[in-house]
């Protein structure tokens, strides 16, 4: 039976790019130290920062919140979790339940944004009324809400994107020749004063398999089912499978890509639009009204950006973050 390369206990995982075996405890240490190195190398957090972790209820954001809670004192930031209840039936009910039990275990304050209550429609209802794919509406709404909370709370927004998400997103950008999208999931995306919150991606170098195993060995509450709108035939998913076939043949391939990707982030063409304040809510827009305000105007007859910002302020006040 394989033994942990550090302590000799029975191994639960082999990490091919290090040629090392780990027991449960040392595997968790391995992941934690990868995150610690990412936070240091890309200067993602510092003393006095506020970090708002976006938690969906899935494994990656459970890992994100756990590692951020463990590294909080060492780096000196404040931490809270933000969950968006999308109103996608059973999936959202169970996801929210998982998040509530996770934050209880970790002792992290939680803010919930209930989409249906706050905006009048759930994500599937919005998608139907707008005749748009649920995933594109969902992505737009989530981005807006994270940004509104980040800006109002002067906080960095941390998301649970893992190495596989980042590499497949970049490769998709190459395959579709959407070159300006390639560097979007860098370790950090700087904020713009008053318009956009800084985004950080602490799991940048954590493989999806490592994230799964970490959640398992730490016993982190999370919901196993995928969003019913996710598709295993999607280009991103197929790219992930392909990348991992290569990783299996060439251990460390993904790590090599990631460090170059972070370095080359500004080598790709920039988006053509200049950021400007939304004419309705004042947050990031590519000109005129932002897409969230335009969409909610279509749905509800009035733009809802301002009311989301108000809701954010009230919730952040409760945390003492205003």
């Amino acid at each position: 039976m394989a033994k942990c390369s550090i302590c000799g206990k029975p191994a639960i995982a082999y990490v091919p790019y290090q040629r090392r075996y780990y027991c449960a405890e040392h595997f968790a240490d391995h992941v934690l130290s990868k995150v610690r190195r990412t936070l240091r190398k890309y200067r993602l957090v510092g003393g006095g920062d506020r970090v708002l972790a976006a938690v969906s209820g899935g494994k990656d954001s459970a890992v994100l919140l756990d590692v951020l809670a463990r590294l909080k004192r060492e780096f000196g930031y404040q931490l809270a979790a933000l969950h968006i209840d999308l109103g996608i039936g059973e999936y959202s009910v169970e996801s929210r339940r998982a998040v509530e039990s996770l934050v209880r275990d970790l002792g992290v304050p939680l803010i919930v944004f209930p989409v249906k209550e706050a905006l009048g429609y759930s994500i599937p209802e919005m998608a139907m009324r707008l005749r748009r794919p649920a995933c594109s509406v969902c992505g737009m709404v989530k981005r807006y809400i994270y940004n509104a909370f980040g800006v109002e709370g002067r906080a960095k927004v941390a998301t649970g994107h893992n190495a596989d998400d980042i590499m497949s997103f970049a490769l998709k950008g190459f395959i579709t020749q959407d070159l300006s999208s390639i560097p979007k999931l860098a370790p950090r995306t700087p904020g713009i004063e008053g318009l956009a919150a800084e985004r950080i991606r602490p799991l940048y170098s954590v493989y999806e398999k490592e994230s799964y195993l970490y959640a398992l060995v730490r016993g982190l509450p999370h919901y196993h089912q995928e969003c019913p709108h996710a598709r295993l035939t999607s280009l991103e998913f197929r790219i992930k499978e392909m990348i991992n076939r290569l990783e299996e043949e060439r251990p460390g391939l993904k790590l090599g890509f990631l460090s170059k990707h972070a370095k080359n982030a500004n080598q790709y063409p920039r988006e053509r639009w200049e950021p400007s304040p939304c004419s309705s809510c004042g947050l990031l827009s590519s000109g005129g009204e932002c897409s969230f305000c335009r969409t909610t105007r279509r749905l509800r007859g009035e733009p809802l950006g301002r009311s989301v910002r108000e809701y954010a302020r009230a919730q952040l006040e409760r945390l003492g973050w205003m």
Binding site: A2, Y21, A230, L232, K240
Partner: protein, 66 residues
Amino acid sequence: MVRVKLLPEGKVVEVDLQEGDTVRDLLRALGLSSETHVVLVGGTPVPETEKIGAGEVVVVRVLSGG
């Protein structure tokens, strides 16, 4: 003979293994990558280099969709 439960779908299949076959051989027989799947025996993850005997195992796909 190994009885394999595939998660998250929940499908059950049986795989014939040779003496000395490893977790990675089992995954290969199923056409799955060891980078995207974790094998659990009795709920505990097993490294892909480990030998695997007869019995029941769970194979979990760790990739989430897009």
